[in-house]
Amino acid sequence: MNDSTYDIAVIGGGLVGSAVAWGLVRGGARVVVLDEGDDAFRASRGNFGLVWVQGKGDGMADYAAWTRRSAEIWPDLAATLASEEGVDVGLRQPGGIESFLTDADRDAAELEIKRMHNQGLPGRPGDGANDTKIITAEEARALEPSLGPEVIGAAFNPHDGHVNPLYLLRGLHAGLQRLGVDYRPGHAVVRVGRDGGGYRVVTSKGDVLAHKVVLAAGLGNIPLAPTLGLNVPTRPDRGQILVTERLAPMIGYAYVNFRQTEEGTVMIGASSAQAGFDTSLDIDTSARLAARARRIFPALAKARIVRTWSALRIMSPDGFPIYAESETHPGVFVVTCHSGVTLAAVHALELAPEILAGRLSERLAAFSPKRFEMVEA
């Protein structure tokens, strides 16, 4: 350990790693970010861009609270990225709609709201269902006149919104550069081992020494975590997205399956498939997404699709984030989730300072992977 030792090495330069690294360097740490190359599975380049609260945390009240907290402080992150990094990420939080085509859709949403209400943490943000409520078809169409006649009702949450995820990534990286973070693309991490009181990170292009290490490599954490005493049982979950040409404004709210960007394109999601580490496109899935979109917004039948792609979510067994410090390797942390956009604000502004302080607080205890051991036992 010497002068070339970083305070913290962040493994992964996607939205999770960048948000954490940005928060760390703003807290005064000397940070190196080790990123892979274009052959990596980059969820941060393929995601949808929702800042989404509705339904998150069904089964874990702490996640409902954490998500809500992130949506609450997202305007601070957006304002800081605009003023300090010169990047307008286009945050809009008009509220979010989940539209129902069948009674079964509505029944499932009603049950979810009841379950979340019963698991609430009184007095904390995220208490209950985070203000999600069921609205009638007429109420939904009053909010969003372009919704079609097949929509029989909807769930509405006033805290939902969306953002341009590519500008978000660019804004964070602009900050890393401005604040002197040593960002190293093309540095695939081979292994991490102890070195004196800290750690030696062996990469494809040489070693890096750091006092602390943050695993934020998405699916890349899978081989690294077990060698560092961390149980991170994540797997790839393939989602597909379609995007239309730029259209005149027709969708004003955020939807779990739709959003119209500031530039006018309508993004259409969201599928889920277990196909391993495979980002190839299943055209039947794209067609199914398009067909459903036409039922919800009939006007989209006249829109032209210009692109469709897939990306891999980083999914834990229960779908909730995993945050922990290794017990066998103190100073090694893991930060992983499938909501790198929604959680960017808490990762940058609240989680990073805790890592810098060297201890995850009690409010993050529920996110420990210990919960998987208890299930398995």
């Binding site: 006149p145 040409e245 730029r246 259209l247 530039e263 006018g264 989209l300 829109a303 032209r304």
Partner: protein, 101 residues
Amino acid sequence: MKFSRLESANASPAVCFTCNGQVIEARVGDSVATALLMAGIGSTRDTALSGEGRAAYCLMGVCFECLVEIDGIPNQQACLVPVSEGMSVRRQEGAPQVWNG
């Protein structure tokens, strides 16, 4: 800007098409983009985002600035489509309005 045709290109037979109803004479082998430039049509679309005028730029299929509607099909790259007799070309004006609320 005024464009003039190379002497060697004048040998091609004439062909007529329309742009927003205006009859334009071109030569067989012209692309729609060059034929429009030759006819002095300054911009062939207004952008979906700002509404600013755009015209053919790279003329080799890369920049997508020359998008026009050809025979009812929008977003055609005018620089890659050869003119043909009776073809109907239309300017694209801003973002398409698919929903009329």
